[in-house]
Amino acid sequence: MSPSHENTCRVRPGGEGIRLLPGNRFFYLNGFFSVIILLFILLPLLRMVTQPSLTDLLATIRDPEVLASLWLSIYTAGAAAFLSLLFGTPLAYLLARHEFIGKKLVESIIDLPIMIPHPVVGIALLSLAGRNHWLGKVMASLGVTIMGSVTGIIAVMTFVGLPFYINSAKAGFEGVPVRFERVARSLGAGPASAFFRVTVPLSWRHLLCGVILCAARAVSEFGAVVIVAYHPMIAPVLMFERFTAYGLKYSQPVAVWLILACLGLFLLMRLVARPMRRVP
């Protein structure tokens, strides 16, 4: 998503530095409000992470059901991110490079999945795949099912994660001056060659960021997935089940592991991305 994408990908404008001039009650007032907000975000998470005992945590991670759901979450989110990369990149590139009538509309369409209430997403995908729609019939005859299948989970996750990848990739492509591609073409490179030899190497950070954000959004989805596929269980669904069946105390360890899995995954990707030569 662009918020965190802005934090991670874009070079910030030159710092002004904290220069506290006299007469800055306003500054301290702002600081006070800011601390409240940060505590509001941090305290619940810290509390939740520190509440379960280590024994509980260890017992939970040995639970094959938990492990399976974590693995399924990661696997489907990865697939969704890959699909977004594959299908979203061309659209992001077109939007970054061309002006056309209806461009605003296309951009709004891309942002739709962000705005739509999550269960509605699930219901919408199921509506399409229903047997009384021609597409549903085609899919059924190919043996593809959405309801209660891994395919369905991936479809939902792709749906909700796409805007995050496309917007990040678009910002990345917009950051590469058209001039570079023009020079490449004047040197004999075709459009595809210019794209892969110049544009992609200069925007890979944004692309990677987009993939990470897309995967993050996909892994965190619950409302749409629970409609489309309660089983096989992804981790948030499992957590929800434990919460409703056994209460808060039994769902907390799963939540902790899910958070750790997400954080670990993103740290790993960050590290993989770091040592690449020549940061633009």
């Binding site: 004999g188 075709g190 633009p280």
Partner: protein
């Protein structure tokens, strides 16, 4: 080498109208004009990066109007260098080589010669990020020339450079042109630059080509008031011919030699005007009387605005002339110039 016929590019906010240009093999041609005149659009049309609305472009005898840019074999160098920041200088230079068919590949000596002439040996393996402007522009020239383009287009190649690198690159361009026998089309807004480098000059204004000709001719005999202003004739007056005299700004003077037909403008360079406190001008000089309205010091000279009854003249005086004359704002002065300095068109 390049033949542009009736090239028009019409965009909602900009129009380039019926440009025709012919550039010979081995020529150094400069397209001159103020910002926004459409110079870069002409270059990019030739390179195939802009789709012309109408007109045709032939390069080396081949009609390239509808050809993709990568098939035209035309090099382009931008004022911001546009070096690929993720590649070293050498990788930048070799970027285009893989698209050249093996049979046409330039001999290794071509690349070596370029690298030598452009003095890139020391920086071949550095990334562009930390190079100086001059080094970047030299690398960018090498990259464009590495694939042996039929024509090299230069888009304000000196504009973004520090003054010290500007001299260096200007010199390099001159050397390149003399030693490698390449055809060069440069776009610039700086008349001195064009005059120093180019053999012929075209002046573009508002998407229209106002004048084309040898550099000296454009400088001495501008064809339109716009070109006259652009080449430094700050004093431009409406005027007319009466038999063998020229009338303008309330003055009447003998015709300068070159005038043919019925001109309707008279122009005069500010540095051709002499100011004196007494009316002690010798015979052929034309004089009039006026008041110094403003004196603005600027570098080595002072710019004086003198109001005579009918017109306002702009004169440039050296610092020495200023000190010796002791001119002040508000002084009454006599203003004189030789009729030969007038240009009527």
């Amino acid at each position: 080498m390049i033949a542009v016929e009736n090239l028009s590019v019409v965009w909602p906010e900009f129009q380039l109208r019926e440009i025709s240009l012919h550039i010979e093999r081995g020529e150094f041609f400069a397209l001159l004009g103020p910002t926004g005149a459409g110079k870069t659009v002409v270059l990019e049309s030739i390179a195939g990066l802009v789709r012309p609305t109408s007109g045709s472009i032939r390069v080396a005898g081949r009609d390239v109007t509808r050809l993709a840019p990568e098939l035209r074999n035309i090099g382009i160098v931008y004022q911001d260098y546009a070096l690929f920041p993720h590649l070293t200088v050498l990788e930048n230079i070799r970027f285009g080589l893989r698209y050249v068919p093996p049979t046409d590949r330039p001999a290794p000596s071509w690349l070596d010669g370029l690298i030598d002439l452009l003095d890139l040996q020391r920086i071949l393996h550095r990334l562009p990020l930390n190079l100086s402007g001059g080094e970047k522009q030299r690398a960018s020239l090498a990259r464009a020339l590495a694939v042996q383009p039929t024509v090299l287009l230069l888009d304000e190649p000196l504009a973004a450079l520090d003054p010290r690198f500007r001299d260096e690159i200007r010199h390099t361009l001159k050397q390149l042109h003399e030693q490698f026998d390449i055809t060069l089309l440069m776009v610039t807004h700086d008349f001195d630059e064009a005059r120093y480098l180019a053999g012929r000059i075209g002046v573009l204004c508002n998407g229209r080509l106002e004048q084309v000709g040898p550099a000296a001719e454009v400088f001495q005999r501008p064809a339109t008031p716009f070109v006259a202003g652009f080449v430094g004739m700050k004093n431009i007056f409406p005027g007319r011919r009466c038999d063998d005299r020229l009338e303008f700004a309330g003055l009447s003077c003998p015709l300068p030699g070159e005038v043919v037909g019925n001109p309707d403008h008279v122009a005069l360079r500010p540095e051709d005007i002499v100011l004196r406190h007494q009316a002690s001008f010798a015979a052929p000089m034309v004089t009039c009387h006026g008041t110094i309205e403003r004196i603005v010091p600027a570098g080595f000279w002072h710019e004086c605005t003198v109001r005579c009854d009918a017109a306002r003249f702009s004169a440039v005086l050296s610092r020495r002339a200023m000190v010796e004359g002791g001119f002040q704002e508000g002084d009454m002065v006599f203003l004189g110039f030789e009729p030969a300095a007038l240009h009527a068109f």
